[in-house]
């Protein structure tokens, strides 16, 4: 501990006290949550660039709701079979974790299908895909009101106390998803930018689009159980939006987005401890701060144009 005290800025940050405990003292308790949050931020912020570029922000929102319905359904089926919520929770990987991933992936495959917009628009399908599972999840929670607390822990994430098993799942998800993206980067970019030309040139556009959406669905399904649906959505949308307003280079956008996402998670966890605020919302708010430079840049450019026109 003495080495920390010898470093001026670090000591004042890490040794800040809350309820008689310094941040450094609390780290062993918080470390799983912080690490899980970092993995979520890393992979969500990376995928977020695709989410923004492909204009599928509300696809990710709908997937997160369907995934939550998967969790609720696992508890409902277990309750109907006479099992208690705590038993289901202890069998995380074969229970709610599995149904969450399966529901999310099915939703992604359904939403990847091209629809004729003559009778129903894509926006309507996304709206229904968002609101219907959200409503059904609330009905199931009401039906299982006696066990609602245990379910909500999984459904909305408990960013502070993440189990070692959940942390492992989160880490493996991040590694696998990033590996798939490293291997298929070219294909994902071309088929996202210009799917028809990619198909005409002989690429399996539908396959690559499905793989891309499955990686997004898988990440959402696993991540919402670590930190909750809203922070995952925020980490997928805000760092990427902030990055894309700052650069004209795609690779730089990916790097900036990941940097903003990871920084938002780290700073958010720290502020949550220091000010005793709920972690998910404060991570979300911190991610929002990264939109300020892009907004300022846009304002400056507009001001310069107006000034040039006036001169």
């Amino acid at each position: 501990m003495d080495w920390v005290r010898s470093i001026p800025v670090l000591s004042s940050l890490l040794l800040v006290e809350r309820n008689g405990m310094t941040f450094l003292d609390a780290l062993p308790i918080l470390q799983n949550g912080i690490l899980a949050g970092l993995f979520v931020a890393l992979v969500s912020a990376f995928l977020g660039v695709y989410v923004i570029l492909k204009r599928i922000v509300f696809v990710s929102a709908a997937i997160s709701q369907v995934s939550s319905l998967g969790v609720a359904c696992a508890f409902l089926v277990a309750a109907l079979l006479g099992h208690h919520a705590s038993e289901v929770k202890s069998q995380f990987l074969s229970g709610p974790g599995l149904t969450s991933v399966v529901f999310a992936c099915l939703a992604a495959l359904l939403l990847a299908r091209q629809v004729s917009e003559k009778r129903i628009t894509r926006e309507s399908i996304l709206g229904i895909g968002y609101v219907l599972p959200a409503g059904l999840t609330l009905v199931i929670l009401d039906l299982l009101s006696a066990e609602a607390h245990a379910i909500e822990d999984i459904l909305f994430g408990n960013s502070v106390f993440v189990s070692a098993e959940q942390l492992r799942v989160q880490a493996v998800t991040a590694v696998v998803v990033l590996l798939v993206h490293a291997l298929l980067y070219k294909e994902f970019i071309f088929t996202s930018l210009d799917p028809e030309t990619a198909t005409a040139c002989g690429m399996k556009t539908r396959l690559f689009n499905r793989i891309l959406l499955l990686t997004i669905a898988f990440t959402i399904a696993v991540s919402i159980m670590s930190i909750g649906a809203l922070p995952v959505f925020a980490l997928m949308v805000m760092p990427a939006s902030a990055a894309l307003t700052l650069t004209q280079r795609l690779r730089t956008a990916f790097v900036l987005s990941v940097a903003f996402g990871v920084a938002a998670a780290l700073v958010g966890f720290y502020l949550s401890f220091v000010f005793s605020l709920p972690t998910g919302p404060i991570v979300l708010a911190t991610a929002g701060l990264f939109l300020v430079p892009g907004g300022a840049k846009a304002l400056l450019q507009r001001w310069r144009l107006v000034a040039a026109a006036a001169a």
């Binding site: 204009r55 294909e187 005409a200």
Partner: protein
């Protein structure tokens, strides 16, 4: 000239709805085909079916083994939200050749630069694609269509929305490519004047009227055929080796000669 592509009894359309059926067609090496017809006639649907972007509803398409296409879509299909340099967009044309899980090599980038130079935009390689003018974007997409070194280059409205200088520049470029490397060209265009002066073969299409005619441009581009397809009186004139088409309203009397 060897046959590249044969179409037999093809029906095109979307979903289960057939727009046009009974299409027979043969495309040879070094051909230059113009594809014309009114709005919504099925020109793009036909081309997308030939390219495999949408499935054929009936019939069959046979092509030479390993026949490759370069496709130049309308420039508006490229979403400006993507922060890509012009060179990045051109290199994409190599991706299908490189294959999944393999990296873009220096040779691929050099080839992309070579085709950017060929279409006269080498100096724009590092410029953001979204900041380019309409003509520069079109040239970038043509370079992307050429970079896989295809057998057939398919262009969808390559001069749409361009001024006269841009239009002339793009058409001269395509003409040079056709003459220089013997590239087979399929070009959709609304401009009958362009097609009349560049394409040697013509596809006249009007799906809703069940019209699909093919033949040499000089034979097919006449007042009677155009009246059938467009419902308009069209005069075709030749001057100084070039053709000019003038349309009159459907009920408008022709001017005195």
């Amino acid at each position: 000239m060897s046959k590249l592509l044969g179409v037999h009894g093809l029906a095109i359309g979307y979903g289960r709805s057939i727009l046009l059926s009974g299409i027979n067609l043969s495309i040879d090496q070094r051909d230059w085909w113009g594809i014309v017809g009114p709005n919504g006639a099925g020109k793009t649907t036909l081309v997308k079916t030939l390219l495999g972007i949408i499935p054929a509803l009936e019939g069959r398409i046979e092509h030479q083994a390993r026949l490759s296409f370069g496709y130049v879509p309308q420039r508006g299909v490229i979403d400006d939200i993507f922060p890509l340099a012009a060179l990045d967009v051109v290199v994409m044309g190599r991706y299908p050749r490189i294959g999944p899980c393999r990296r873009v090599t220096r040779a691929d980038r050099e080839l992309a630069r070579h085709y950017m130079e060929r279409v006269g935009i080498a100096h724009l390689a590092d410029r953001p694609f979204r900041s380019l003018s309409g003509g520069q974007k079109q040239r970038t997409l043509i370079a992307r269509g050429l970079v896989p070194e295809p057998d057939v280059l398919v262009l969808d409205e390559p001069t749409d929305g361009m001024d006269i200088a841009g239009e002339a520049g793009i058409m001269e470029l395509i003409s040079d490519l056709h003459r220089g490397s013997g590239l087979t060209i399929l070009m959709i265009s609304h401009s009958l004047n362009l097609v009349a002066n560049y394409a040697r073969e013509l596809m006249l299409i009007h799906g809703h009227e069940g019209v699909f005619r093919t033949g040499p441009t000089d034979e097919l581009l006449n007042a009677a055929t155009l009246k059938d397809v467009y419902g308009l009186s069209v005069d075709v004139h030749a001057f100084d080796g070039r053709k000019f088409l003038f349309a009159h309203g459907a009920n408008e009397p022709r001017p005195e000669r």
